[in-house]
């Protein structure tokens, strides 16, 4: 697709068009007095007129995740009265998401594989939500301490999966469309094509960020390239899990993960006790009750079995089924871990191969 140039002061015009397209949620970097809260300064929120004039697309992924736009924390998937069983009505309004990063899009593509592209069971709620979102992504212009997307073969800029992508350059933005809808928006803005110099600058910036990532994560390169061994052999050994020993099974890691999607189906009566409602609710494989069965038997007990299972699921089981690792390298699980556990360090420490019995 062609790339266009948007002068700095015309970003508001783009935002106005996005507002006409649907309800806009953007990521916004808040001015906090201290750097201490740094990881929490970039948040996803509903667009606020007050900030439109000064809005800049943050240079880093948001602290929150966009997963909830596709799989809300809990939502009704069925409603059934006693005698007549009816399907729930599906309605979703157009929602524009602005400021997603490459890792957020990678996460969407993984959720798509599970909920949309499974030939046997397609999730109608996910599909509806997915079809209703408009994706405006942007390049990363800096990296976070916990970012390691490069180790999973991802880049800090998106090349597909968006309707529009924004790359900041010195005097404005380069806009690239990735869908007919993106194309339409660009037409409406009637922008000049990007100049060669601008594109070169974009590529240079991209390369710089990628280099920074490579530098930051160089000592983990081997751990991640060894993952292919896990896929071919299919087993972790029992040794080397010490970096995970501080886990407290809080479930923060799975809840903030943009690709974790475990859920449970939960039924209850409405207030009058006439109709039953079924909800899909986020769950976590790190909770003790996740796999606990009637009679108290639990195949994933103690804690370390659940901890291992999360890694096993992300880097083996998911790969077996979907051909990719279930991790984008966004680092949110690292930022939020109560046990102060760094996934990279865990992977660098564990041993691959059959447990010798």
């Amino acid at each position: 697709m062609d790339i266009y140039f948007l002068p700095k002061d015309e970003l508001t015009e783009l935002i106005e068009i996005l507002r006409e397209t649907g309800k806009v949620f953007w990521t916004r970097e808040r001015d906090l007095p201290s750097n201490l809260e740094n990881i929490r300064t970039i948040r996803i929120e509903e667009l606020d007129e007050e900030y439109i004039m000064d809005y800049r697309v943050p240079g880093l992924r948001a602290y929150d995740i966009f997963k909830s736009f596709l799989l809300p924390l809990n939502f009704k998937v069925a409603e059934y009265p006693d005698k007549k069983w009816i399907d729930v009505e599906l309605n979703a309004k157009k929602t524009v998401l602005l400021g997603l990063k490459s890792c957020d899009l990678v996460a969407f593509s993984m959720l798509d594989a599970v909920f949309l592209e499974d030939p046997e069971f397609m999730d109608p709620f996910y599909k509806k939500n997915r079809e209703s979102i408009v994706i405006v992504s942007s390049d990363c212009s800096r990296i976070g301490d916990s970012c390691f997307c490069n180790l999973l073969g991802n880049t800090p800029y998106a090349t597909s999966g968006f309707d529009l992508n924004i790359s900041e350059v010195s005097d404005g933005y380069l806009l690239e469309s990735g869908s007919p809808l993106g194309e339409e928006i660009l037409e409406e803005l009637s922008l000049p094509g990007a100049r060669k110099k601008g594109i070169e600058e974009r590529d240079k910036r991209r390369e710089k960020v990628l280099k920074d990532l490579e530098k930051q994560n160089s000592k983990f390169l081997k751990a991640f390239s060894d993952l292919s061994k896990l896929v071919s052999e299919g087993y972790y050994r029992d040794e080397g899990w010490e970096p995970g020993s501080t886990c407290v099974s809080c479930g923060a890691c799975t809840n903030v993960c943009p690709v974790c999607y475990c859920f449970t189906l939960f039924d209850r009566f409405d207030k009058k006790g006439e109709k039953s409602k079924r909800f899909m609710v986020w769950d976590s494989c790190q909770y003790k009750g996740f796999s606990q069965m009637a009679g108290g038997m639990n195949p994933r007990f103690p804690m370390m079995e659940r901890f291992k299972n999360r890694y096993y699921h992300k880097f083996f089981r998911f790969y077996e089924r979907y051909g990719k690792y279930k991790c984008t390298g966004c680092g949110r699980c690292i930022d939020n871990c109560l046990g102060d556990i760094d996934m990279r360090e865990v992977l660098a420490s564990v041993k691959i191969g059959k447990v010798v019995k």
């Binding site: 909920f115 999730d123 299919g234 087993y235 859920f263 939960f266 039924d267 769950d283 038997m297 079995e305």
Partner: protein
């Protein structure tokens, strides 16, 4: 658009008390459905929730179905205490792969059940009876806590009248109402007791996981190979369609790839038996 979470309607037409803690519910389905031996259903009690069960009735294209339920928790309490004939419940399914009946054909089939574990096996037993000439022999070994905990007792005579079919029972501890074998179900599998051509047979087992573990060890001990043993890995499940991610072993999703798994396929993975 099909809603994969939505339960189809069904009405309870009969409830039979098998044991003090096990009841068999007979359902008439709003819409007919087809299921294979070993496939399972998610049964909904309105407002309470769902639980997975393998029907205990004969598989095929059906308008009716039986599900045999041990009382043990939220959903099963409601089934036992609140549900009456005429009530409407919900069903999703069938899910899972079902038994590899074609692989079983021409072989001897040894069935090992414990407690309510005979319920899912009953559906397999009926399926085997349906084409009984295809199987050399059907040997059923079944154990329960007490004589009063044996399910389907009124059908045993009928089963043993079938050609080439045997039924061996045991109860865990001596009991005044029992003059048969006493001991865990594994005692029926001792070398001198099982009358099975080990090389030419498959074993199918269902029961609590601890039982499956000791049954498997015993079977290996008497000479069965891991690839002859099929275990019902009936773990906690919610979605039934390989998404909610709680029922896996190794690369497998028990709800999709099982729930009956060949021991050969799972034996080296972590958390196979508790």
């Amino acid at each position: 658009m099909d809603n994969i979470y939505y339960p189809r309607g069904t009405v309870v037409t009969d409830i039979k008390e098998d044991t003090p803690t096990i009841k068999t519910f007979h359902f008439e389905l709003d819409e007919p459905l087809t299921y294979k031996a070993g496939q399972f259903m998610q049964l909904t009690v309105p407002g309470i929730g769902e639980a997975p069960f393998t029907p205990s009735s004969c598989p095929g294209e059906v308008r009716e179905m039986e599900i045999t339920v041990l009382q043990t928790g939220r959903v099963t309490d409601a089934l036992h205490n609140e549900i009456k004939v005429g009530d409407r419940l919900g069903l999703r399914g069938p899910f899972g792969k079902g038994y590899p009946m074609e692989r079983f054909a021409g072989k001897e089939i040894l069935i090992v059940g414990g407690g309510v574990g005979l319920a899912p096996l009953r559906s397999l037993i009926y399926a085997l009876f349906d084409r009984i000439d295809d199987f050399k022999k059907i040997s059923i070994c079944y154990g329960a806590k007490t004589p009063h905990d044996l399910c389907f007792r009124d059908e045993f005579d009928e089963w043993t009248k079938k050609p080439n079919t045997s039924l061996n029972l045991t109860i865990d501890n001596p009991h005044p109402d029992w003059d048969g074998t006493v001991g865990l179900v594994t005692c029926l599998l001792e070398k001198e007791r099982i009358d099975v051509d080990i090389k030419n047979s498959y074993v199918v087992s269902c029961g609590p996981e601890v039982m499956l573990k000791f049954v498997t060890l015993k079977l290996m001990d008497v000479g069965f190979k891991a690839n002859q043993i099929y275990l019902s890995m009936n773990r906690r499940m919610s979605c039934g369609i390989g998404k909610c991610a709680r029922c896996n072993i190794g690369p497998y999703y028990l709800c999709k790839d099982g729930p009956d798994m060949c021991y050969e396929d799972i034996k080296d993975y972590p958390n196979v038996f508790e």
